[in-house]
Every structure is written in structure tokens, then in C-alpha cells.
Subunit: 436 residues, 2 copies
């Protein structure tokens, strides 16, 4: 990262560091704002050229990347990072292949910038439409996976934005090596180097400053654990596109085809346990509970899924534990499932509204009217009929790439791809028209 | 407002009031959240029936409305409100006609809720699209004009939201009388009375509480002066759709048709002085300055517009005052215009980027390439070619109605109509599909 002065984040007194950090982050912000103005004028070819050049520089720097990563891994082992974290941190040839492939994929995506929707003529004689344009400057805060550096940079760049990336301190050497490849790619393509800036200090105060500069940063996207995201949302003075819990439900209605219900309820729970779109609570309409629950229970037993039920569930599935109030609101991210027997769609929707996280909820039904109601009335970022909640994903939805899943309602809701990194402005075309 | 306990906002000690206010606003929030869930399920006919019923109740309550307003006006005169404020506060038959007509117009607008965009089939077999849905609960904070109560209520309702309206204390009797008509209309149509709640206390702490309840309120829209909006943006814990300055520019390029340039520059400045889409700075490309500026100056003189110019402008228009740094960044809202001679589009766009407020900016040009660049690169909510900035308006754009103009980039940018009061969620249609 030759383009900004290194910040010494050890061996300096707190006050001095804070002053340095404010000055350093402000300089990143100012450079990003200027780079964003240049990026707005770049065409698709220029952006794609930069992405392809970055891919070539990654390819050429494989050994440097692996060496840098080895330093991070060594320090991680010394400081006692657990095995899962070390795995996320590790780079190898396969993961470098994945980053290169990701850059090719983003280059191949249609460019959303410049699209004009709804251009139409008004009685006054002007034509009015909405043009899709970059947001400007995006700050992304993430944790240990160094490949996020490439994912985030490539999506922000393709959407015409400048970005400031703040990765986890565990990955600092890896991120610096990746940043050098990004930098070289930008320069080779003639784009401003400050279009992608990787924060070169691991001082935590950098995050506090990044989220407090609305004059330089248009939106913050935190990627990480719930506590990180909650803290950033609480403290940010910049809008945040955030992803909190995924307490997802499947409701099996009395009219459901029970074969479909079994397939969906098993897949939604057992396909992967640690993902936000995994089902955490199953709601079953009373008339089919006695038939459905024992069938499901044998599948769940095969997968080693622990079941916790309401009293009516316990009456059918003898011996399972009771689910309490806390269970209904818990994102287990584990082979545990809460089950509740309900009386019809009203009670199911009321449960989802009360305990859910408005992430992804599905109904299994053959009843047209109930499907229609569930789609209209359940207030979640993804609402499904007769499909597994596991489909809630940018790639499954055809976005081509995903920077995250938004559980917010404003701006972007659900999986966020390139479009979520843009906004729309009005364009007016006239020929000397004035207002009368 | 019979549906919640009255709050005594005089004669009570501060601490007691604050406790009351928190409890009171929390109860409004809880009721709004519940009403929002019911509103999500309402079809267009039910919402329109409520709007038409409200119109009938306003018609039937003309004398009560005028009596209530007379109390506000009398108190306003006693407390020394200025003439402009008293005028905004006043209700008369024409203004009541306007409110009734407004309700009819909103009822006639297409309902955006339930529209599904881009439903398409994925290789997995599912169909994915995006459905437009209500935001949920909207808080609107506004000043003295009582007709805003009807405008805000009708737009929120038509978009399927519940709303909490907090009008200016000067209009409290008028707003209570209007609220009674809204209430009667909702009840007559069988919609929840809490779908529209008018805050029945003038205690300023109510605003502080309204903007601090993300669990009950999804977005805040402040309508009023800049200081109100800045304070709310700074303190809100809920997303804010805000409208700050309109420092709007017209740039006349060397290739412009000067007749069009004169028409647009005169209209953009003199059509109305106090509106946010009025031009505040004129930028003129050097090669046409000597011809254009004297022509414009005579029109501006006719309208009594004071001119302030850069040195090059002063060299052409002898005797006008100098424009300083502050002028370039000022929203005059008055018959004053700053003028700068620039060398080409780059300098014009750099000026707009530095001093403008990203509201509305126009270029006058016959050059295709420059028009295209200006549209793509100027980062404002409305960007125009050969048209007066005064067109930046929800009605002129065909939105049918407008809750305000957003100078934010996220979610809604530019004039905000019904669509800005909604969001989109993903819908997935399957037939037992699971993820492999």
C-alpha cells in the first residue's frame, strides 16, 4: 500500500494514535471521495479491464500471497486462534483460484450503471426517467477471511464506487499482499488507485472513524458476527446496510402435500446448519401434525438433529425436550430445531411476526388463497411458497454475486448484489423547456 | 383522538412529563406496529374506501375544522406568530377543498403494493421475483401547515403503512379536528384506527421519543426547516429520509442554443424564489459569457434579481457585487443569483461537486457528448439537459403526489411518492423444491 503513509499502530501512546488515526482515515476518505467522482465517469470496459488486470496480478503473485498468509497463520497460531478461524484465514492455491475466478465472474456480470428505467414523456414536454448510478464511497468492515478483500473490491468497483476496506487484523499481511495486486490492477487499467483502499492499520479506532465520516463515506456494510454489526449500527453516523439474525420458519399448512413438506423441512434444516437461511423453527398446522411430525422426526434423527417442541408437539413426539420462549427467538446455527403446532395460518403468521427476524420464511401449501396471503403479509426479506429457505442467496436468486444479505427494509432488502451498491437519480431531457 | 389517553402537556413537572411521554409514545408505537401488520393485508379497494370516507368526513366537518383553526389562529396572533406563519396555518374553504381533492387524487393513484418485478425461473427450478410491499410504520414530523396531516396520512395509507404524525404545536386544534375525520374514515372502512395516529401532545420530548423507537418505527420523514431536519438526522436511531439544501445550478455550455439558455436561466431563477429547485448559481462557459450575460442581466433586472459574480463575470457585468466563497454554497431562497464564468464542463462539474447540494443541476448544451457526460457524472438527485431546474417535483415527474424530495442517496432519491414509502422483498415460488 504505497499510496498512503504507513500508520504505526503499536508503540505509540493512545492519544497520539487517535490523532494519527483520525488524520489517516480522513485522508483515506478524502481520496476515496475524489476517486468516486472519477469512477462515476468510467465505462464498463475500463472497469472490466481493471478486474482482469487484478486477476493477472493475483496469478503472478501466488507465492507472495502464500508467504504473506503464512505470516498471518504463524501469528494466529501463536496468539491461539481456534482451528475454525485459522481455516477461514488460510490461503492456498485453491482459494487463490477462487479469487481469480471471482474476478472473472464479476467482470462478466452486466453493468447496472447507466441503466435508465421508465423514461417517459410528460404533458409539460420534458422526458423523465431514473438512471442507475454508483452510490459513491462504500466502507466495508469484515473479519478474518482474506478473500473477502477481493469480493468486496470487485463488486464495489464494478458498480462504479470507490471503497475503503477494513479487514480483520488476523489477516493483515494477507490483505496487504492482496491490496498490492488490486493496486497494480487499478494502475494498469488507468483507474485511480484510491478507488480501492485497504486500511493499513489494525488499530480499532480506525473502524470508529470510518463509520463517522458521512462527508466521505455514503454507506457502511459490516460483514461479521452479530455483536460487531450491532455495535457498528449503534455508533455509525453513516447509513448501514446490515445483516442481523436469520430466525427462519417453515409453516406446513393443513392442505400441504406432505411429501413436499418433508422434503422442504428436511432440506431447510439439514442442508447446512451454520447458515442464516437455515430453518430454526418449524410450524405445523394442527390437522397434519400427527401424520407429519413422526415422519419428519425419523429423518431428523438420522441427521442427529435435536428437537424441542411445544406441548402439542411433545404429545405427538414423546420424549423430546420442551421449547421455551427463548427457543422461539433463537438462531441456533446448529443441529437443533424448535417445533410448534399451530391452529392455521393466522397463528403461524403471528408467531413469525413475533419471534422471527424477518429474514426468510416459507409456507408449504396447495391452497392458492393461503399462498397468496402468506406472500403478501409475511414481512420478511424473502418469502417462499413450497421451497426450502436455503434458496435465500444471491447466487440462487441469479444476482451473480452477493456482498451480503440485508435484513434492513430501506434501500436493499434480502441478498445484495451489484444493484444494492448503486442508487437511482432522476434524469430530465428537454429542449429548452421551462415551467409555466 | 379518542383512541389514546390524552396527555397533559402543561402544568406537570418535567420528570413526570418525560415519563408520561415515553409511555405515551411507546403505546402509539406498539399500536402502530400492530396496525401496520393489519394494513399489509389490505387490498386497494379497502384503502381507497378509507380515503373516500375521510374526504366525506372532512366535507361534513367544515365548520368544526374552521372553528378549531380559529382557535389556533387566535393563539398564534397572541403569541406573535408572523404573517407568513399565520398564513400557512390558516384553513379556509379553499384549503379544505384542496384537502378533499387531495384524498380523491391519492385514491385514484395506482396502488404500488403487491407489484412483482422480474419474476423469472432459475436453473434450480424455483421462480424468483421482487414484490413491492409497505415499509411498515412511518413517522412524519412537520411544522405548521395543517393540510400536511391529510397529505401525509393519505400517502402512508395508500402505500399500506401505519403512520404516526407529529405536527407543529401552532396547529394543534386544527390537527386534532382533522385527526377526528381521519379516525372516522378509517373506522367506517373497517381499517384499524391506529393506522393513522396524530400525536396528541405538543411536548417536544415526543419527537425525541418518536425518533428513538426502531422497534416500532421503520423510517422518519421530517418536513420543515433545515435546523429541524439536521437535528433529527443527528439524533435519530431510526433511518431518516431527509431533504436538506437545494443549491441548484444551471451550466450553460459554449455549444448551447442561447435562446434556450436565456429561457431556462430566467425560469430556473425567477419562476419562484423560495423553492428548493430554484437555481442559486449560474455557471457560464467562457466563450459565450460576453454574449449571454448581458442578455440575461436585463431580464434579471426586470425581475429585480440581485446578481453577484466572479471576477470574470464582473468584467462583463460592470458594477455587480463580487460573489465570495459563501455565495457559492448558499441557498438564497430569494431574488439573488451567483454567477461564475468557467472554462468548460470539467470546471463546471468540479464547481457543482464542491459547492452544490446534490439536489438538481442542469446543463444547457447542443453537444451530444457533453450532455451524456453531464447526465452520467453529476451526482445529484435530478440531473437535466436543456430544462429548467424547477421541473424537479413529484407532480412534474408524474408521481401523482409527493411526500417530499430526498437529498439522500439510499432508498429514495429525489421526489418521493408512493413508491418511496414502500420497499421490495424477494418472493420465491416452488413446487417442493429443495437446494442440492
Amino acid at each position: 500500500m504505497s499510496r498512503h503513509a504507513p500508520v504505526n499502530d503499536d508503540n505509540v501512546k493512545d492519544v497520539a494514535v487517535s490523532t494519527d488515526i483520525v488524520a489517516y482515515m480522513t485522508s483515506l476518505g478524502r481520496s476515496a471521495r475524489a476517486a468516486g467522482a472519477v469512477m462515476r465517469g468510467q465505462d464498463t470496459a475500463a472497469k472490466n479491464a481493471a478486474l482482469m488486470a487484478m486477476a493477472r496480478h493475483l496469478e503472478a503473485a501466488r507465492s507472495e500471497l502464500i508467504d504473506a498468509n503464512a505470516q498471518d497463520l504463524a501469528r494466529g497460531r501463536e496468539t491461539g486462534l481456534d482451528a475454525a478461524l485459522l481455516d477461514r484465514l488460510a490461503l492456498n492455491d485453491t482459494r487463490i483460484d477462487g479469487m481469480i475466478e471471482g474476478l472473472h465472474q464479476v467482470a462478466a456480470l452486466p453493468d447496472p450503471v447507466g441503466e435508465i428505467d421508465g423514461l417517459h414523456s410528460r404533458p409539460s414536454g420534458i422526458q423523465v426517467g431514473q438512471m442507475r448510478v454508483p452510490l459513491g464511497v462504500i466502507g466495508i468492515i469484515y473479519e478474518s477471511r482474506p478473500n473477502v478483500t477481493i469480493e468486496a473490491a470487485s463488486l464495489c468497483l464494478k458498480a462504479g464506487n470507490a471503497c475503503i476496506l477494513r479487514g480483520g487484523s488476523e489477516a493483515r499481511e494477507s490483505n496487504a499482499a492482496i491490496a498490492a495486486c488490486i493496486d497494480a490492477g487499478l494502475r494498469e487499467a488507468g483507474l485511480p488507485a484510491a478507488a480501492v483502499q485497504v486500511v493499513a492499520t489494525t488499530d480499532r479506532a480506525a473502524v470508529g472513524q470510518l463509520i463517522s465520516m458521512p462527508e466521505y463515506v455514503d454507506v457502511i456494510i459490516p460483514r461479521g458476527g452479530k455483536s460487531l454489526i450491532e455495535r457498528i449500527s449503534r455508533e455509525a453516523r453513516v447509513p448501514v446496510i446490515k445483516h442481523l439474525d436469520g430466525v427462519c420458519h417453515v409453516y406446513v399448512d393443513a392442505s400441504a402435500d406432505l411429501d413436499k413438506a418433508v422434503a422442504i423441512a428436511v432440506n431447510a434444516k439439514t442442508h447446512r446448519y451454520g447458515t442464516c437461511n437455515t430453518m430454526e423453527t418449524l410450524l405445523v398446522d394442527a390437522p397434519v401434525a400427527a401424520e407429519l411430525l413422526p415422519r419428519l422426526a425419523s429423518f431428523y434423527a438420522e441427521h442427529g438433529v435435536e428437537l424441542r417442541g411445544c406441548e402439542r408437539t411433545q404429545a405427538i413426539l414423546k420424549g423430546i425436550a420442551a421449547a421455551n420462549e427463548e427457543d422461539w427467538a433463537t438462531e441456533y446455527l446448529a443441529p437443533v430445531l424448535a417445533i410448534r403446532v399451530v391452529d392455521g395460518i393466522e397463528e403461524a403468521m403471528a408467531h413469525i411476526d413475533r419471534y422471527g427476524s424477518h429474514h426468510t420464511d416459507a409456507i408449504v401449501t396447495e391452497n392458492y388463497g393461503l399462498a397468496r396471503r402468506f406472500l403478501a403479509e409475511v414481512d420478511s426479506s424473502s418469502v417462499m411458497v413450497n421451497a426450502s429457505t436455503r434458496f435465500a442467496d444471491g447466487f440462487e436468486y441469479g444476482l451473480g454475486a452477493e456482498i451480503g444479505i440485508s435484513t434492513d427494509k430501506l434501500h436493499a432488502r434480502g441478498p445484495v448484489g451489484l444493484e444494492g451498491l448503486t442508487t437511482r437519480k432522476y434524469v430530465v431531457l428537454g429542449d429548452g423547456h421551462v415551467r409555466v
